[in-house]
Amino acid sequence: MPETEKVTGSEAVMKTLIAEGVNLIYGYPGGAIMPIYDALHGYQSKLKHVLTRHEQGATHAAQGYARVTGNVGVVFATSGPGATNLVTGLADAQIDSTPMVCITGQVSSHLLGTDAFQETDIISISTPVTKWNYQVTKASEIPKVLSKAFYIARSGRPGPVLIDITKDAQFELSEYAYQACTAIRSYKPVPTLQMSQVEKAAELINASKKPLIVWGQGIILGEAEQELQTLIEKASIPSASTLLGLSAIASDHPLHQGMVGMHGHLAPNKLTNECDVLIAIGMRFDDRVTGDLNRYAKQAKIIHFEIDPSEVNKNVYVEYPVLADVKQSLQALLPLIEENSHPNWLDEFKQLRKIEDEKVIQAQLSPTKEGLTMGEAIECINKATNNDAIIVSDVGQHQMMSARYSKFVQTRSKVDSGGLGTMGFALPAAIGAKMGALDREVVAIIGDGAYQMTIQELGTIMQTQAAVKIVVLNNEFLGMVRQWQELFFDKRYASTEMTNPNFVKIAEGYGIPAKSVSKRKELAAAIDEMIACETAYFLEVMVEKEGNVFPMLPTGASVSDVRLS
């Protein structure tokens, strides 16, 4: 037996993080996690810590980092309010399958259950929003529990894990013995591929006259972008993305039909109810994607490539599931797929695209009225970045506009809060994205409402010099809610109008160059200036106050009942 050294629990945390390949942590200190921060101080050369301005910001930054790199995002927070501030980010990461490990300090084990200062039962609170969580009360458990945490967070369908460590365990000395976790007997991260399912899927795809692919983030998480593209091209299948799948295939790929769902593109939504075979890949039939389930693709045979058995038949009945890691299943599928073409079927997409162009897109991109549109601002960003920026969006109209109008040439370029729709996500997530992809342009597109939910993270930018480009599309409204009020609540604008501060001054207060534009002739130059800037930059674009996002599927409508105005 080799001699093992005795280290404190806190040092065991550092050593295990390094062994797991971590080099970046987002967090915020406090009483119950001070021993861990103290140990961190001695490991600064290997573990960079970014002090965010709120623990929620730390979670979103870790998510942004995880989404662009595929690595596990790591967060530290103290007990009590520090831990409860993580809940939104955990819920967001859980519903969007983002790998994250949060480590919280906890009061000493002899105080558990006494309502000690800053004691909160974060294990109970975080249970429904974590893939796994665990409370450590002995230093000796730390290497094993943490390596298990990383294994769970990143394997299979990824997700967030929370490890709560009591303060006495952080101080306690124990022998450090690390071994990477590679299996857990009660956990099967990836179902075993069944060739019969793949063969059946190939048969259906080969026989299909009107196939449609809808892919989701599973493609990106499973690193199956190339396999998807080969499939699409080989069988000439029109394909559309969910919000979180965007950028997996380049936007200008001729078979890319845009986005499905509530504010998705007309053609793939409408033709979901015309296709004969619907091929769902790494997506989960979210209600924002399907609209009314009773009128969703009823005519189609549905194939579902999925890693998580609990997603099969959850919302949509699927006769042909292919349960496996998506890269593996697509690789098995490809040799069975025959080359094909579907000119008439593709023509149907073209025609609907033309209608959408004329009735919706032109008014956004070449507006004739005075007010600036969100679409034209986004188009300027595309041009200034050659379609090659990482676009991090917040939640609201600007999010749907950036999903619709942003263009991408490489994968992992679109970061959104999809399932949870967390306002306040973008600014911290953009910081994480930039730190994960230093050589890429990162542009955060944020609404004036959402910006103010995590605006304090400008301080993080100031301190770390993260060169994030921040674009606030200011309509002086909580626009998405206002749009619903206009369309479904008789224009009764209850609490959606915003009196906003001088955003330029605020950014300048943090030492960030800033500008505000409201005229069309200034827009492109302002965006060019922002992109050319080497440091972080803030740009406010004053857009029309009552612009709406179309097309739209009102709640309860079928995908074929798209509203264009």
């Binding site: 429904p128 769970i152 007997r185 009660s186």
Partner: protein
């Protein structure tokens, strides 16, 4: 619409602190009321078993079983309809001592229902009855007029009717 019926979930787990909470939250999230729950060891060493009874539709039961199965420390989750299991619940009835001699009706009930007296003291005595829920409920209704002092029914324990070699399947999983 499919009607709700009684389903028994058999969940084989690691003995992990907090797992019971995690599993009950799966029901809570879907607004499903848990009728009874029992935790015990199982036929396999170091594997625990939860038996959970709920009223839901079969469509829901399938989805809930998958959600439970997905939890990291759950080894395997099964669900069964009432008619697929052999199950028992134990009920205890605490009765005032005087009714034991009052006309003999209570004694008759005890012997008719194959219940038994497990404890007698100066003021009260305790009846135990094991059986299906309907049987323990029937006895409850019969005893109430005699001044039932306390009543408690245990969580359900059940085994499948089908031979269904869960053990060997599980042993494969855990070895």
């Amino acid at each position: 619409m499919e009607k709700p019926q009684s389903f028994t979930f058999s969940v084989y787990t690691e003995n992990n602190l907090g797992l019971l909470n995690r599993i009950s939250q799966i029901f809570l999230k879907r607004h499903i009321n848990v009728e009874s729950i029992n935790a015990s060891e199982s036929e396999i060493e170091n594997v625990h078993r939860l038996t959970i009874v709920v009223e839901i539709t079969e469509a829901q039961a399938i989805k809930v079983a998958k959600q439970i199965d997905k939890q990291i420390e759950v080894i395997k989750a099964f669900y069964h309809r009432e008619d697929e299991t052999i199950y028992r619940e134990t009920a205890l009835y605490k009765m005032p001592i005087n009714c034991l001699y009052d006309g003999g009706r209570v004694q008759e009930l005890i012997s008719d229902t194959y219940a038994s007296i497990v404890n007698v003291s100066k003021d009260y005595f305790v009846i135990e009855k094991t059986g299906k829920k309907a049987e323990t409920t029937r006895l409850y209704n019969e005893l109430r007029p005699f001044g039932l002092m306390q009543f408690l029914r245990s969580g359900r324990i059940s085994v499948t009717k089908e031979v269904m070699d869960i053990s060997s399947e599980l042993t494969k999983l855990v070895s």
